[in-house]
Amino acid sequence: MNGFPILSVMLLVPAVAAVVCLFLDAKSARWLALAATLVDLALGIVLWASFDIGGAQWQFVEHSDALFGSFSWALGIDGFALLLIMLSVFLMPICIGASWEAVQQRVPEYMAAFLLTEVLMIGTFAAQDLFLFYVFFEAGLIPMYLIIGIWGGVNRIYASYKFFLYTLLGSVLMLIAMLWMTQQAGTTYIPDLMNHDFPVHAQTWLWLAFFASFAVKMPMWPVHTWLPDAHVQAPTAGSVILAGVLLKLGGYGFLRFSLPMFPEASSQLIWLIFGLSAVAVIYTSLVALVQSDMKKLIAYSSVAHMAIVTIGLFAFNRQGIEGAMMIMLGHGLVSGALFLCVGVIYDRLHTREIDRYGGLAINMPRYAVFFLLFTMASIGLPGTSNFVGELLALMGTYQVSTWTALLCTTGIILGAAYMLYLYRRVVFGDLTKDDVKAMPDLSMREIALLAPIAAVVLWMGVYPESFLAPMRQDVAILLERIDRAQPKGDSMPTAGNPSAVPAAHHGAEGGAH
């Protein structure tokens, strides 16, 4: 790939297509958007294939000072960014396909908004300049506002207003912290900043400022309440991209900024992350249990899953961080697919009320199979993507805090309860309602959307090595960086002393002391 600016091209293709879309009619705009996203997917595959695993930390680097001031066009990716870019370019054609028939109003603008989202997502993950990152990161929400606000449901204004208020607060604080950092370190180049040792006392404030932004994006409890509303109001493809990629920005932020730039502060504030995450797992899972709106239920389950990401990231060990990344990828696919599944039946009956459905296994058997697979993946069944992530993240957490691991592992029980309860009410039971009886099974287009996700979910579950390998070296670099602040676990097993202990069945008292 010598010299070929593949990352810039990946940004350029959807950007140009977005502009052209605005001048086309609905049909051509759809085809152009699909073509552009498929080209980006192809480029993404080239990117992944030519990524040198174990090679330089930053690859495909492009640097140009030609922009203005200290604000440079600096792109480059490591393994984390590669995987998240792959997730974005993989989901994007599926989003376009999901909107093929569902969206009939202002189609060119809609397609342009999605293409713009793709540009900004890729840009966020590829940016190596702090302010370039900031622009992509914040601007990424603009097309999302548009998608919710124009093509959303009845309450779209309230949802986008809430979305805006939350994000604004976080962004402002993060921007101030970024300004201070560039003054202090004298650079805006992210790889340099990642190796800059900020004073320990300042780290806490910087960490909290970034936390304000990332916690909202994640979203972490208690700043999660924008998410259910945004999901409920967003059109299907909007929900897919929101759950699939936008929620990963927070996790990426923690990984890229909070941990390597402020290791001491991260270590000191573990209690905050662990506390909020443990509350989130139990609280939002229980809330998910009582939802009657399918999208809200899945939205709340997303909050619970993302909490496992945060504990994994802040476990300060390899399993935790790799697990967190795997959940981000797995959750991106699975929750995206679940929103597609909701969209499929929403398109037929125009309601998200769970109780309006029932017995779909009878007239929509193919749908039932896909929905079952994604339900099981969401529950974290071994053999699916989410299991690998959850296992590793919780395993990493256990090494730091057994309490947090216990509380967060209860998520596997609650998750099974709310997802199976959902599946039972929608797919199982008898087929009694006439309008539900009239619903046809998946069309070829819908199968074409769900089948690729299903394949990747199983691939990640059975052979996750493909996804673990690209980030292995980056995790090592990160661990080396944060090693000095690593918290002590609460397990601390002592060495064994078998000779002092009589064998079992001879009256030994080996219990607690």
């Binding site: 986008s160 216990l406 039971g429 676990g489 002092a500 069945h505």
Partner: protein
């Protein structure tokens, strides 16, 4: 030993074919493919097992490929075959093959047969992955895989609300156990820095006496790890406290109950403890807990079994009780005896379930034993099969000569408990043996002896009116079995004369209601006959390999911790202790005979007299009610509270909806911007801010 790949992956391929080709090839092709795959797997498994019996096979591991690697955590897909696995291989593939075959007959009227056979084969694959696991995480894969298959099969008749509820309950209660299993895996990795089973077992003795921090306290390391793992075993094997899902799982088709909820899946917990026996041996406390839980379950489930009226529920509680036996055998260190009972139990319990299925089939899906009676002559093959199973489970045999399967395996457990000095477990085992004999013979007498009481059954009435044989399963199963005695205060114990639901007694032609039960088709009888052979002979043939002190060590070859000292001691216990199980069995038989053949008024009188005790047993010790009250209802109530009072009442109110000022600002904005363009203002502000600051920085 390359045949192991075929054994494990053929069922997976068959399941994928049968499931994904749903109805494209009709019903026959998927049935042939899945049953054929299982026949091949079974035919390949027995030579492996025989190789271990003769001592010509050595333990080995067949690698498949890497699963996940994260630092020192190195997990591979691999198939381990040793003596312990070989035992499970023959159990799983044999029972699975027979159940596949049996289902040709039992499910013949069901329109969804491809799906059914796909689930059965999928289950078999997952179970084989579990028993061939060489690391804890692959074991967990199989563990969850069988859980999935169990969930799907319990809810197979998904139109039935009760089946769906039972399926969810099974999955969620198992997940409670899995929480323990997962924490156990995490802790084990933390301590041993590996999840490979042989490496853990090699290092475990060296960790005895170590302490570890857990949830704020400091405890003995091995005790913590073993107890966490044991919680997982309790869930899967339905031990006291986490047993509530198993009786409800009877909502699934009966062949499923035979395969999953009797012979194989529910024994996974016992298998896990035996597989990790060198680890459990390092913690006396954990072993004591296992013994107590096992003995308590064994007794408790047997008490409930004595009053249930649904034929499948009696056998379900019986399974729960027999699993308790296996656990306390493991708890006292007699792992060989635990595995032996697992082995024999698989055959006779599958036989009892398939026999019950045959009875249900011939009685047109009636499951209430109060509506049976006098079936001995009408379905003779089923009767003799059930008889073999009952002789096996109650442990009929002659001292110093030999007997049916349970005589060898169950008595070995009771004797081991005595030899290990565990008096509580010994007496629990003996009393449970009495109860086992009582409820098993009660089942036999109510079903096969006495006068027909068929006319009282709504199912039978339907059959007679509609001209029987034209009912699809779907129709017959929409109504949950109306033996839900807990709701029926009139339902005393199944006693003398039918006095529950039914038409006026004058309608009956001697209680038959004009109904003629038919013996099941030959595909259902062959499995019964084969399993009867197992119930009769496995105990006698295989005890030298599994438990005898002279020869068993050579068979197990270290694949489980075989305590030769204990095995010798078991042989030297006093004669009265050896005979106690047989005496208990005889007492149970006589009591059942007296109460259900001679003096048929007795059970009703007993139920009247000991009303509280009877209701306590009938309602299964009120576990379901208790759990509903302390877990299910609070979970929903808390969910609603967090949602309404937390998210909406607090976070949104003081957050985005904000203080009065923000609210008025918001409403003014939205008021002015009714056209729907608030978002544009929002991001214009954001862009403005960004631009301003960017300008400030780059100036």
């Amino acid at each position: 030993m390359t045949s192991i790949q075929f054994i494990v992956f053929l069922p997976l391929l068959a399941a994928a074919f049968a499931g994904l080709s749903n109805r494209a090839f009709g019903t026959l092709v998927p049935k042939v493919v899945t049953t054929g795959a299982l026949f091949i797997a079974c035919a390949l498994s027995w030579p492996i097992f025989i190789g271990f019996l003769t001592g010509s096979n050595e333990a080995g591991v067949a690698p498949v490929f890497t699963w996940m690697q994260s630092g020192t955590l190195d997990v591979s897909w691999a198939l381990r075959v040793d003596a312990l696995t070989a035992v499970m291989l023959v159990v799983v593939t044999s029972v699975s093959f027979l159940v596949h075959l049996y289902s040709w007959g039992y499910m013949s009227e069901d329109p969804d047969q491809p799906r059914f056979f796909a689930y059965l084969s999928l289950f078999t694959f997952a179970m084989l992955m579990l028993v061939t696991a060489n690391n804890l995480i692959q074991m967990f894969f199989g563990w969850e895989g069988v859980g999935l298959a169990s969930y799907l099969l319990i809810g197979f008749w998904f139109r039935k609300p009760s089946a769906n509820a039972a399926a969810i309950k099974a999955f969620v209660v198992n997940r409670v156990g899995d929480l323990g299993f997962m924490l156990g895996i995490f802790g084990t990795y933390l301590v041993f820095n590996t999840v490979s089973i042989p490496e853990i077992l090699a290092a475990a003795p060296g960790m005895a006496g170590s302490t570890i921090g857990f949830l704020g306290g400091r405890f003995d390391t091995m005790t913590v790890l073993c107890l966490l793992l044991f919680v997982g075993a309790m869930g899967k094997s339905a031990q006291l406290g986490l047993h509530t899902w198993l009786p409800d799982a009877m909502e699934g088709p009966t062949p499923v109950s035979a395969l999953i909820h009797a012979a194989t899946m529910v024994t996974a917990g016992v298998f896990m403890v035996c597989r990790l026996s060198p680890m459990f041996e390092t913690s006396a406390t954990a072993m004591t807990v296992i013994t107590v839980v096992g003995a308590a379950t064994c007794f408790f489930a047997a008490t409930i079994g004595t009053v249930q009226t649904d034929i499948k529920r009696v056998i379900a509680y019986s399974t729960c009780s027999q699993l308790g036996y296996m656990f306390f055998a493991a708890g006292v260190g007699a792992y060989g005896a635990a595995m032996f009972h697992l082995f024999t139990h698989a055959f006779f319990k599958a036989l009892l379930f398939l026999g019950a299925g045959s009875v249900i089939h011939s009685m047109h899906h009636e499951q209430d034993m109060r509506c049976y009676g006098g079936l001995r002559k009408h379905i003779p093959v089923t009767f003799w099969g059930m008889m073999a199973g009952t002789l096996a489970i109650t442990g009929v045999g002659i001292y110093e000569v030999g007997g049916f399967a349970g005589y060898h395996s169950k008595d070995a457990i009771i004797e081991s408990a005595f030899a290990a000095g565990s008096g509580g477990a010994f007496w629990a085992g003996v009393i449970a043996a009495l109860l086992t004999s009582f409820y098993s013979w009660r089942l036999m007498f109510l079903t096969f002896w006495g006068k027909p009481r068929w006319a009282t059954s709504e199912h039978v009435q339907h059959a007679v009116h509609d001209g029987h044989g034209h009912h699809g399963h779907e129709d017959a199963h929409v109504e949950p079995g109306h033996g839900d005695v807990a709701d029926n205060p009139r339902a005393e114990d199944a006693g003398s004369e039918p006095h529950v639901h039914g038409p006026g007694e004058e309608d009956m032609h001697e209680g038959t209601g004009g109904y003629h039960p038919h013996e099941s088709p030959i595909v259902m009888l062959i499995p019964l006959i084969v399993l009867s052979m197992g119930a009769v002979f496995t105990g006698y043939f295989f005890h030298p390999f599994f438990i005898d002190p002279e020869s068993a060590g050579a068979f197990w070859k270290g694949s489980l911790f075989f305590n030769e000292h204990l095995a010798h001691a078991t042989h030297e216990i006093p004669t009265w202790a050896k005979l106690s199980a047989t005496v208990a069995m005889l007492l149970g038989l006589v009591t059942a005979w007296y109460a259900y053949i001679v003096n048929k008024e007795l059970p009703a009188k007993f139920a009247d007299h000991f009303r509280l005790l009877y209701r306590f047993l009938l309602n299964k010790w009120y576990f379901d009610e208790l759990y509903h009250f302390i877990f299910v209802r609070p979970a929903f109530a808390l969910g609603r509270l967090f949602w309404k009072a937390g998210d909406e009442g607090t976070i949104d109110r003081f957050g985005p909806n904000g203080s009065a000022a923000v609210v008025s600002f918001g409403s003014r904005l939205t008021g002015r911007l009714q056209s729907g363009y608030l978002y544009s203002y929002a991001f214009v502000m954001l862009i403005g801010l960004t631009a301003a600051i960017t300008w400030a920085v780059t100036r």
